[in-house]
């Protein structure tokens, strides 16, 4: 988990490295296998269409994991995730390439540790927002 992040060079406006994944059954089935999440809408295009979408679609929980991955890659091992929130606004249908974008929106000292607030978003390959998110991270002294 190499990262050049240190508390000294974190500043408002800094962008996190992009985290990108091509999505479809190859990643959804692996996630279903570890999270026991074998739901027809995630496994079967017909079930996805019956639910109002053009195909099967991926788990919100997997996008949730991708948000963590993006933050972790940037944080390295000296930081920790204090909180994370997201809203699932669009379906991750089959074949989409998802990218997690993140920006530092605030930096402050709190309880003896440096904290940073982040604004994140999962977008599809056309730049459409699927999942906006916010997070707070801390670097303990």
């Amino acid at each position: 988990m190499a990262s050049d992040t240190s508390t000294a060079n974190i500043e408002v406006g800094q962008e996190l490295p992009l985290f990108t994944r091509e999505t479809g059954f190859a990643v959804w089935n692996r996630y279903a296998a570890v999270n026991d999440e074998f739901v027809p809408i995630h496994m079967d295009d017909e079930a996805g269409r019956a639910a109002g979408y053009p195909s099967a679609f991926g788990m919100g929980n997997l996008q949730w994991a991708y948000l963590h991955n993006a933050i972790r890659t940037w944080l390295g091992e000296d930081g920790r995730i204090v909180s994370l929130s997201c809203q699932f606004r669009g379906a991750n249908t089959k074949g989409m390439t998802l990218t997690v974008h993140g920006t530092v929106t605030a930096v402050r000292e709190e309880g003896g540790a440096r904290h940073a607030d982040l604004e994140l978003v999962v977008k599809d390959q056309d730049g459409h927002t699927l999942t906006p998110a916010t997070a707070t991270v801390a670097f303990d002294a």
Binding site: A26, D36, A51, G60, H68, D78, I81, S85, C86, F88
Partner: protein
């Protein structure tokens, strides 16, 4: 289309405990496989699978990704006698766990998650989860009347250490 899908019994159940579960001890293999799935096709960071590397970090050993779920597949204990009989993917699962009738909606989606994190999960940990029904709300959406169900799930270690407090929104229509 009904004016509301929130029955008097559902309103009366707000605040109720949906379930209390105790995980099996978390294994290195559980953590490793989770990390492989969420980083696929890239190799996951060594913190999640390389003991020698992980021992040299401030964690002092392997920890789980924050998003790891130790309750997938099976729990060692579950307080709800109804739990085993209810399909995990039944849209009425929330109400069935409370022993009341659900709204009978056909589809369900994950609306959002908000989590405060405490300590990281480590191999050998046994995690207890207590999940409660917080509220119901409704609004009109593209696909009709949408029912939002908010729950709060608190995970702790056996010594009471907080692992996370998670608020989730389930959308049904």
């Amino acid at each position: 289309m009904p004016e509301t899908n929130i029955s008097p019994a559902m309103r009366a159940a707000i605040g109720g405990e949906l379930g209390r579960r105790v995980s099996f001890p978390v294994s290195e293999s559980d953590i490793r496989r989770w990390a492989i799935a969420v980083y696929w096709p890239q190799q996951p960071p060594p913190l999640f699978w390389d003991l020698e590397y992980a021992t040299g970090t401030r964690h002092g050993g392997i920890v789980a990704p924050e998003d790891f779920n130790p309750f997938a597949w099976m729990s060692a204990e579950s307080s709800s006698s109804r739990d085993a009989d209810i399909d995990a993917n039944d849209p009425d699962r929330t109400e069935l766990l409370l022993g009341i009738a659900g709204p009978g909606l056909k589809f369900q989606l994950n609306g959002g998650i908000s989590v405060e994190y405490g300590e990281r999960i480590r191999p050998g940990d046994v995690i207890t989860s207590v999940n409660r029904l917080q509220s119901y709300t409704e609004r009109e959406g593209r696909l009709g009347l949408m029912l939002m169900t908010n729950t709060e799930d608190t995970w702790t270690r056996a010594d009471g250490t907080l692992i996370k407090r998670s608020r989730a929104t389930l959308i049904r229509y």
